[in-house]
């Protein structure tokens, strides 16, 4: 954070990525995007000019770049109260009308939330009734999500969250530890489809009963948040649910009046109008 990067340089980078690689970061929130860029320059030991050159010349560098650019800090059962609300209120409500249903994890990162959901569904005894779709922009992170293996040092916080979530067993029952890594039971992902999807430029691809997109849109500016929320609205069945991060809000967006607040504390909304 000692050096700085000029807004014009940021624009040159986003324009090149857009024209050359077809990703649009032009409406990302400025300060976090700037920090990510400075981080990439530092990690890869590049200047703005050499970064532009590599983005232009190398066909594979873009994947490496995306993996560093996207924020992949996540936890299992982050905000345990949110997961309790899903288990005790939201999913039972969906089950009243549907024997089977679809969930979309939009911006799934390294998969911790998908895994949390899979455990939740298994403990509710309904994992065979639910199809999960997990998408992310970053191919590298999708591969990591599929592998369901994480550094052991992460397990402590995940276990604490699971205990506060009041799960049925112990998180350790779902994984085994070996050589400083914890690997979860791959069977948990039996009903999960991973695929690459771009929230900014991608189309609506399916209809869902529940969409989770927590702490993803915080990296977008308000105009882009508004556009993405329209896509989520179109991707939900009527009376389906949308969950966003605890410090995100629908108040400002165009589709706000088509949703009802289902749980204000945990930021879960119910679609009530097409």
């Amino acid at each position: 954070m000692t050096q700085d990067i000029d807004i014009n340089d940021l624009k040159r980078i986003t324009e090149l990525i857009h024209s050359k690689h077809g990703y649009d970061f032009r409406n990302y929130a400025m300060s976090s995007f700037k920090r990510r860029m400075l981080r990439i320059l530092e990690i890869k030991n590049l200047t703005v000019e050499s970064l532009l050159k590599r983005l232009n010349d190398s066909p594979t560098f873009i994947n490496e770049f995306l993996d560093e650019l996207t924020v992949n800090v996540t936890e299992m059962f982050r905000d345990p109260g949110f997961w309790r609300s899903l288990r005790d209120e939201i999913i039972p409500d969906i089950l009243l009308n549907h024997k089977t249903f679809n969930i979309w994890h939009a911006g799934c990162s390294s998969g911790e939330e998908v895994l949390s959901m899979a455990i939740l569904l298994r403990e509710m005894g309904i994992h065979n009734q639910v199809s999960l779709f997990a998408t992310d922009l970053d191919l590298t992170i999708l591969e990591r999500a599929k592998a369901v293996t994480y550094p052991s040092k992460n397990i402590e916080i995940n276990e604490k969250n699971y205990i506060r979530y009041e799960g049925k067993w112990s998180l350790r029952d779902y994984c085994k530890e070996e050589n400083g890594r914890v690997t979860f039971d791959k069977g948990l992902l039996a009903n999960v489809t991973f695929r690459r999807h771009d929230l900014v430029l991608g189309e609506v691809f399916n209809k869902f009963d529940l969409i989770l997109c927590r702490n993803v849109m915080i990296y977008f500016n308000q105009a882009l948040q508004n556009e993405v929320l329209k896509k989520f609205h179109s991707s939900l069945f009527k009376y389906g649910y949308l969950a966003i991060g605890s410090k995100e809000s629908l108040i400002w967006c165009d589709v706000a009046n088509r949703f009802l607040v289902a749980n204000n504390e945990e930021k879960i909304y119910k679609k009530i109008k097409d």
């Binding site: 954070m1 000692t2 300060s31 976090s32 924020v71 800090v73 996540t74 969250n161 915080i218 948040q225």
Partner: protein, 197 residues
């Protein structure tokens, strides 16, 4: 009493603090004039997985209720804001907040350096930065950025701090305008308030 060199050009006050700063913060917030004309933006180290309680505890004594803003929430004059637990909080051009869950900085999320540095970038010489007691170096660099952009910098008198690592880090990195006890910080903010009336 120190004579403060003040003007009415300021747009915001940012406050950073960590271990041992809670008392100082509550003192400042409880003796702040109701009419205080600037937003107060606070980034305090806090328990990562306790989402509730802290803002309520601060609000009990505060003249103005303390809020943990939403992502992209506009910053209002007279608002008192606290960085929410487990998020970094930035100030953006256009005068609003942005949250992020990026990696910890200085072992902290929220990191004081992030809030202070982004505020310095947006408000430049129109910013007042205050750094209180704390057990790590987070905030030192942010104070340097405030000073480098021409803003006004204040640290809590290290002798008064429960743990003085944080203000000392700032003093080592940049020239600090005022080194003050909590009571003097309160006086400073009250004098500033009078100027705006």
């Amino acid at each position: 009493m120190i004579g403060f060199n003040l003007n009415t050009g300021y747009k915001a006050v940012v406050i950073g603090g960590s271990a041992g700063s809670f008392q100082g913060i509550t003192k400042i917030l409880s003796q702040l004039p109701k009419t205080f004309p600037l937003p107060i933006i606070m980034c305090l180290h806090r328990l990562k997985h306790v989402r509730n309680g802290f803002v309520e505890a601060l609000s009990i004594k505060s003249v103005t209720p303390v809020v943990e803003p939403y992502d992209k929430e506009q910053i209002k004059k007279g608002g008192v804001y606290l960085a929410p637990s487990n998020y970094h909080m930035s100030v953006e051009l256009g005068n609003y907040f942005a949250m992020s869950t990026e990696e910890m900085v200085n072992n902290s999320r929220p990191a004081i350096d992030i809030t202070l540095s982004t505020a310095a970038y947006v408000y430049r010489e129109k910013l007042i930065g205050i750094l209180l007691s704390g057990a790590n170096r987070d905030g030192g660099l942010g104070m340097k950025h405030i000073k480098d952009k021409g803003g006004l910098t204040i640290v809590q008198e290290p002798a008064e701090c429960m743990i003085d690592t944080m203000p000392k880090a700032a003093l080592a990195l940049t020239k600090i305008d005022y080194v003050l006890k909590t009571d003097e910080i309160v006086k400073f903010l009250n004098e500033l308030d009078k100027l705006y009336r």
